[in-house]
């Protein structure tokens, strides 16, 4: 994917921003306190137009595409930036732009571009990465609906003004047909949160929906036919995490290589031991390949063919999941004991890479999805 001059400028601005503001010890101070990201930075990103970069011009955005999203996420990955960008702009923004009606788009897309948070809430714990497994139920109630169920690990849920919630209006437990999408205001009676920190320094919560009454205008798209938009949002999320991982992997590579050149044992630098040289070379190669796959996932988001998109995104996410874990572990191992300390960045990169590898589809899930979509062994999975 070749970037345009404007896109290169955007990348340089964001790189400068995160280099200035997210030096590791400053990053640690940000995640140490609630809400787990910097509200001031978030406002600034909105002002600079970064949050609206990918949103449609007709609704408060700048009309950019997948590349702009990827530029942001890669730089975030490089410096372990925490923010609701993924869950609000990338996921909810994509789903609303795809499936929302004019009223919903007019109300919510500009709000998202301004930094107000709509958290995408589709995952349920027993689903284990399968978005078609939805137990949360939406029952018709006059012109509206009543929602009951629970969503797991909704990022930055405590800061959200609304949730985009997948719920079953028909069909069987694991069927893609019969799933609808609802815009649930956070203040609705019956909505509650169980918030927690996550290992990567971010915040999330379980979202509990107990008899939540909604008007009919909260449904996004056609009843029972939201699965396409959900998959689109999830593919955007997966591709975004791939480039984020690529950025973080290169950071692990760079930090490890620098440490190997610095640290001496047995009277020579670690980097002069041939066995360790070959290991960091393998890290380097993994970073190169992962970067290629990540950007192909981004390119695939613009594909006109949803199967082609899904197949390429899943190939990338499956590849990245393995590579991210391997590079993270190797970063720790090549550092040695010092990597175990909380004060060094390397362990925190590993935790974020592990989270990426296991969120919005783990390696297993995407490998299986790729296999199925490639016409390999159609009779299982």
């Amino acid at each position: 994917m070749q970037l345009s001059d404007e896109q290169n400028l955007l990348r340089d601005s964001i790189a400068r921003f995160v280099d200035d503001e997210y030096e590791f010890s400053r990053r640690q101070k940000i995640v140490a306190v609630e809400p787990g990201f910097s509200r001031a930075h978030w406002r600034r990103m909105a002002e600079l137009g970064w949050l609206g970069a990918t949103l449609p011009e007709s609704h408060g955005g700048l009309g950019g595409g997948a590349a702009e999203m990827a530029i942001v996420m890669e730089q975030f990955g490089r410096r372990l930036v925490t923010s609701p960008y993924l869950v609000s702009v990338v996921m909810s923004g994509t789903a609303l732009a795809e499936a929302g009606d004019e009223a919903q788009k007019s109300r919510w897309l500009p709000a998202i571009a301004e930094g107000r948070i709509v958290a995408f809430a589709e995952g349920e714990a027993p689903a284990r990465h399968d978005p078609a497994f939805v137990e949360t139920a939406a029952r018709r109630d006059g012109a509206g609906y009543v929602l009951d169920g629970a969503k797991h690990l909704v990022p930055f849920a405590s800061e959200a003004e609304a949730f985009l919630v997948s719920a079953r209006t028909g069909g069987a437990q694991a069927q893609s047909a019969g799933i609808s999408l609802f815009l649930v205001p956070a203040k609705s009676p019956g909505v509650s949160l169980k918030p927690y920190r996550t290992h990567d320094g971010a915040r999330a919560a379980d979202l509990v929906l107990a008899g939540v009454r909604l008007g009919g205008d909260t449904r996004v798209g056609v009843e029972g036919e939201a699965f396409g938009a959900i998959e689109l949002a999830l593919d955007h999320a997966a591709a975004a995490m791939c480039v984020e991982a690529s950025g973080a992997m290169w950071a692990v590579h760079d930090q490890t290589l620098a440490y190997m050149k610095l640290r001496s044992q047995f009277g020579q630098t670690l980097g002069s031991f041939q066995a360790l040289q070959h290991r960091i070379v393998d890290v380097y190669i993994k970073c190169q390949l992962a970067q290629s796959m990540a950007w192909d996932a981004v390119a695939a988001l613009d594909s006109a063919d949803p199967t082609d998109r899904a197949r390429r995104v899943s190939a990338a996410k499956a590849h990245l999941a393995g590579a991210a874990m391997a590079v993270g572990k190797e970063g720790i191992q090549l550092h040695g004991g010092i990597a175990m300390t909380d004060d060094l960045a390397i362990g925190h990169y590993f935790k974020r890479l592990a989270a990426i590898a296991h969120t919005y589809g783990d390696g297993e899930y995407h490998m299986e999805r790729f296999r199925r979509l490639s016409g390999l062994g159609g009779n299982t999975g």
């Binding site: 995952g123 714990a125 027993p126 689903a127 284990r128 990465h129 399968d130 497994f133 797991h152 690990l153 437990q173 694991a174 169980k194 918030p195 927690y196 920190r197 996550t198 290992h199 990567d200 999330a204 379980d206 044992q265 047995f266 066995a275 360790l276 874990m325 572990k329 720790i332 191992q333 040695g336 004991g337 010092i338 990597a339 175990m340 300390t341 909380d342 004060d343 060094l344 390397i346 362990g347 925190h348 590993f350 935790k351 592990a354 989270a355 296991h358 969120t359 783990d362 297993e364 299986e368 299982t380």
Partner: protein, 396 residues
């Protein structure tokens, strides 16, 4: 050696029954979650139970209050101990210092220290590594200067595991810096209550509780009688002690217990419509790691009981054992799914209710934490160097 004789079967059953009866359920529960930070009171409570049974120091001879077991019994005991989810022994005192003292200590030292270790009166920790002496241990710089009947110690030690619950620390210090770096190292026993000993936690990135520390020594006066072995000859003790450690660190018993927990979890966890253990791809991964662990286990038995005494070959057990253990913990991390992302403490916080199944709560921390095992006690790269040189006869 055949472990399947009627006598040994009876012994295994006795051990199993004892643990089933005597291991307090609250302690067992914490161990079964792979918690890193078992409170000292729990350790003591359990140690007292073992002391009453005379099983607190299973590797010790009768002379010093041990059960005097042969290798087979020790092996069986260790296996059942782990499978029962009993907390780790206070190994620094019992296995490392205890056995080194039996070999290198004076009678006075043995009399004074060993019984207290056995009875749990003294907990010990180890002061070997330093900020600039990790894999290259012999380059250590923490210094001791002889002044009359004392050594005066200045310097610091890294990675003091369990230092914050220990009463004593055994240390390597430099008493001579003039020769080859393995020379001039002295082995000292230091009371943690001595003036000038300070300890700071080293918080680890895994988000678990306090586990390791950095220990600082400022003009700490250590009586000469607390020196183990001769002055400047501490490296001999280190070599002996690392040999003990190399076998222990294969972690086969602990890994078997973890694998059992993984299987129980996969059989209980909801996985879409069914059970995780019925997912062919995931259960295949369990099968693969089970076979790998079995290969390490059988090799450990072959090297332990195979006739020819194993030396540097044992490095392969530490190496593969920790790799396989890491894989088991990674599978548990995978198995737990999205719950693995949640930081443990927060689930127990006032406002929250545990979001995931109980067994899942420590999977993330345990997975991250255990990466240490591939590094400590001689990193796996060092173990490869040892095999290359000492077993295969290759030279740099």
């Amino acid at each position: 050696m055949n472990l399947d004789t009627p006598e040994l079967r009876a012994f295994r059953q006795e051990v199993r029954d004892f643990f089933a009866r005597e291991l307090p359920e609250d302690i067992r529960g914490k161990v079964a979650e792979d918690r890193m930070d078992l409170p000292k009171e729990d350790q003591r409570r359990w140690h007292d139970i073992l002391v009453k049974k005379n099983w607190a120091v299973p590797s010790w001879p009768v002379e010093w209050g041990g059960p005097g077991w042969d290798d087979a019994r020790q092996y069986i005991y260790e296996r059942e101990y782990a499978l029962a989810d009993a907390p780790r022994h206070m190994s620094y005192g019992i296995n490392l210092l205890g056995k080194s003292m039996m070999k290198f200590g004076t009678e006075a030292q043995k009399t004074r220290f060993l019984t207290r270790i056995r009875n749990g009166d003294d907990f010990w920790c180890q002061g070997f590594s330093e900020p600039n002496a990790g894999s290259d241990l012999a380059s250590l710089q923490c210094k001791a200067v002889r002044e009359g009947e004392h050594y005066v110690v200045n310097g610091s030690k890294m990675w003091t595991s369990e230092g914050h619950v220990a009463d004593w620390i055994f240390c390597l210090v430099r008493t001579d810096g003039s020769g080859k770096k393995q020379f001039g190292i002295t082995f000292l026993l230091i009371d943690m209550k001595s003036p000038g000993v300070e300890m700071q936690p080293i918080w680890t990135y895994d988000g678990g509780g306090r586990e390791v520390n950095q220990t600082f020594f400022t003009d700490v006066r250590v009586p000469v009688e607390n020196r183990l072995g001769d002055e400047n000859q501490g490296w001999n003790i280190v070599k002996y002690l690392l040999g003990i450690e190399r076998f222990g660190t294969a972690e086969v018993s602990r890994s078997l217990a973890m694998l059992a927990r993984l299987k129980r979890f996969a059989a209980g966890a909801r996985h879409r419509g069914g059970r995780l253990i019925d997912d062919p791809a995931f259960s295949r991964k369990i099968a693969e790691v089970e076979i790998e662990l079995r290969a390490v286990e059988l090799t450990e038995m072959r090297l332990l009981f195979g006739g020819a005494p194993a030396g540097a070959e044992a490095s392969l057990l530490k190496l593969r054992g920790t790799e396989v253990q890491g894989r088991i913990l990674e599978l548990l991390y995978d198995a737990v799914g999205s719950h693995a992302q949640v930081r443990i403490g927060d689930l127990e916080a006032a406002k929250g209710v545990p979001a995931g199944p109980n067994q899942a709560r420590h999977a993330g921390t345990a997975f991250f934490n255990y990466r240490k095992t591939l590094i400590y006690a001689g990193s796996n790269e060092i173990q490869r160097n040892i095999i290359a040189k000492a077993v295969l006869g290759l030279r740099g």
